[in-house]
Subunit: 388 residues, 2 copies
């Protein structure tokens, strides 16, 4: 398997995007359509105030088949009552009409401001004529779902005869409990519904579910996979490995483009008592504001690492056995700060990646979490955000 | 009971502070001494990498009696192995010698950089002669324990014949699981050991344990109470009410002076299924970076409130029953944004206090959490921090 230099659409998939008037400028509405019905599965936010598209989407995905995704940015359709439900349904209907497909095969997403109604007339108008301008470039779909992302995100992987393409967005309010903001995985591989659903859950667990930009969990998080089967059968394990690899790559892209982020921060915990504790500890590192500002400031602060691990006080840590590594340099072992070349390490973590690895040596649990540094840019972006 | 305009020492307590050379400038070493042995109790961090003073302090406090506290700033004596233990004991010995008191009646605290050894010679020298310069002004002791605090914190409350004085520090790395950074509560009231211990735990639960500046938990958090009995007996309930009131006032002071903070942020949750859920939900609000930047940016962002509540997906929330209030203005009810005067509310939250109140109407659990906004100042302060 390999990442293609330019993302392409898997066989049978097309997309379009447009500015329909929700945003003052830039695309704000995307559709993705497969010419053959695709097997489909999805995971959604666990937030107790889910958006209308999430509530409806959970029902729509139940039958495991889809023809189209429609997604708008700028307004999230969350906290919008009965009118919100009607508007989401009208969006799907407009797509069904434009592409001449059954309305029950259309799933919708919305991302943006909460507690504001969709401008449904603009959306319906925007959908009209999209079937005439369909593109084979997945970046086109990625453009229409951007909120505070700095660039549209799409990657493609070739695995045997199949292509897996991921289109994603997500920049702040990201600590997914099921998926990240909006991620659409498209493939022409032939995978049956049950396998697709299980593979998606397994891949998400080690990728999007280990991503945190700011500990906050969006009300709209959605991750969908559509497999239309046009490239034929594929070995399941081979496909799953490629799927997980692609999801981790997209996770890194989303982390690196976190709001205000200047670098990718990863935290790997090995030798934990079990996998669950490894996940808690790696998330604690990735989420700590003091670790995040340390990454930004390029300071190898061992104290903050000990603090962030130690605050998970239900986990099993034996300080004497623990080893901490930053960008390949051992910084803590035998209950003490290790001897290391500080200038060299500072130079290394001044780059665009800070990797923390913890070896706990108390068991065999491992996990890796993905995040970003905390900068003035995050504060500026979110303090200036205007909700109405 | 009332807060005194200027803090004073309770009868029998004295303090001193000095620059012993740990910091380039400013006081870095404080002692507090009571002329009569005091009943004492303490609560400490639950972090799995506790500082040496916390490990030793848990033992020292077991007998429930103290004569002196010695505390240094700049170096925390955490992650320092056997030498750290020896240095902490030498600090206590120096105080015992200087004040002619038993070494087992001296408790020590250290706050500052982690994984660095105390400069014990400087500390021992600094302690020499302190008994000659003892002061009745608690601010003197507060000065020696400051790290990133912008001012020394001490308050006194008069309750019947007794005085309760709290000396505290704490600015970042504050989400205590037992107490906040360093808080010393001194009183001349006569309270027996068992009552003192219980009252401290109860008061801390609703005050310092509901404080969060940045979700991070210090390895040195310590809260001690010393009651030397010189003002005689007092009604227990009266004393407890005053103690809790004073602890909440100090909590507010610490929150307001969080690193880079420009305003106090409080989150009160009423009508939760039970007290435990009310605590989880109010902490979730106070800890959310998006709520904290919204407070800074003075935007009444309902979406972020729903998000921060909703991400506690094990709590019981019925969106239709919920009501959200910011600074006295209802902003959300009946599953929808409420009608309110946005300009007026923006003006109000542009001030130095943002209070969020949530009425869940599903039970009778209540809790209130204390925090601060997230500003560029926090990022600057913590990115610039140099750990060696």
């Amino acid at each position: 398997m390999k990442i293609l230099e330019r993302p392409i659409m898997p066989d049978g998939f097309e997309c379009a995007s447009v500015n329909c008037g929700l945003k003052d400028e830039g695309k704000d509405l995307s559709v993705i359509v497969t010419k053959e019905k695709a097997n489909a599965a999805g995971v959604f936010t666990k937030n107790l105030f889910p958006g209308v598209p999430v509530v409806l989407g959970r029902k729509i995905i139940e039958k495991g088949e889809l023809r189209a995704i429609v997604a708008n940015s700028k307004i999230s359709n969350v906290g919008t009552g009965d009118l919100g439900i009607e508007n989401a349904k009208r969006t799907a209907k407009a797509v069904a009409l434009e592409f001449d497909i059954p309305v029950e095969d259309v799933i919708m997403s919305s991302t943006g401001v909460i507690a504001m109604q969709l401008k449904i007339d603009l959306i319906e108008n925007g959908i009209k004529g999209l079937s005439e301008v369909m593109s084979k470039n997945p970046v086109v779909a990625a453009e229409g779902i951007m909120t505070t992302d700095t660039y549209p995100k799409a990657i493609s992987i070739k695995v045997n005869d199949a292509v897996i393409t991921i289109i994603g967005k997500g920049s702040g309010m990201i600590e997914p409990d099921m998926a990240t903001m909006l991620v659409y995985i498209l493939t022409d591989a032939k995978i049956d519904k049950a396998d697709l659903s299980k593979m998606l859950k397994d891949a998400v667990k080690d990728s999007f579910n280990m991503l945190s930009v700011d500990t906050d969990t969006s009300t709209s998080d959605t991750c969908l996979i559509l497999a239309n089967g046009l490239s034929g059968d594929i070995d399941k394990n081979t496909f799953f490995d490629a799927l997980k690899f692609a999801c981790i790559k997209m996770t890194e892209m989303l982390a690196r483009d976190g709001e205000g982020a200047s670098k990718l921060l990863t935290a790997e915990v090995n030798g934990a008592k079990n996998e669950s504790e490894a996940r808690i500890l790696s998330k604690s590192l990735i989420n700590s504001p003091l670790i995040k500002t340390m990454a930004y400031g390029a300071d190898p602060n061992i104290g903050r690492i000990l603090m962030a691990l130690g605050k998970c006080n239900e986990c099993h840590i034996i300080p004497e056995k623990m080893e901490a590594v930053i960008n390949g340099t051992i910084v803590y072992q035998d209950s003490n700060k290790a001897d290391f070349d500080e200038d060299n390490l500072r130079k290394s973590i001044s780059g665009n990646k800070v990797s923390i690895t913890i070896n706990l040596n108390v068991g065999s649990g491992s996990a890796k979490a993905y995040g970003c540094d905390l900068t003035q840019g995050y504060v500026e972006e979110n303090a200036a955000y205007y909700s109405s």
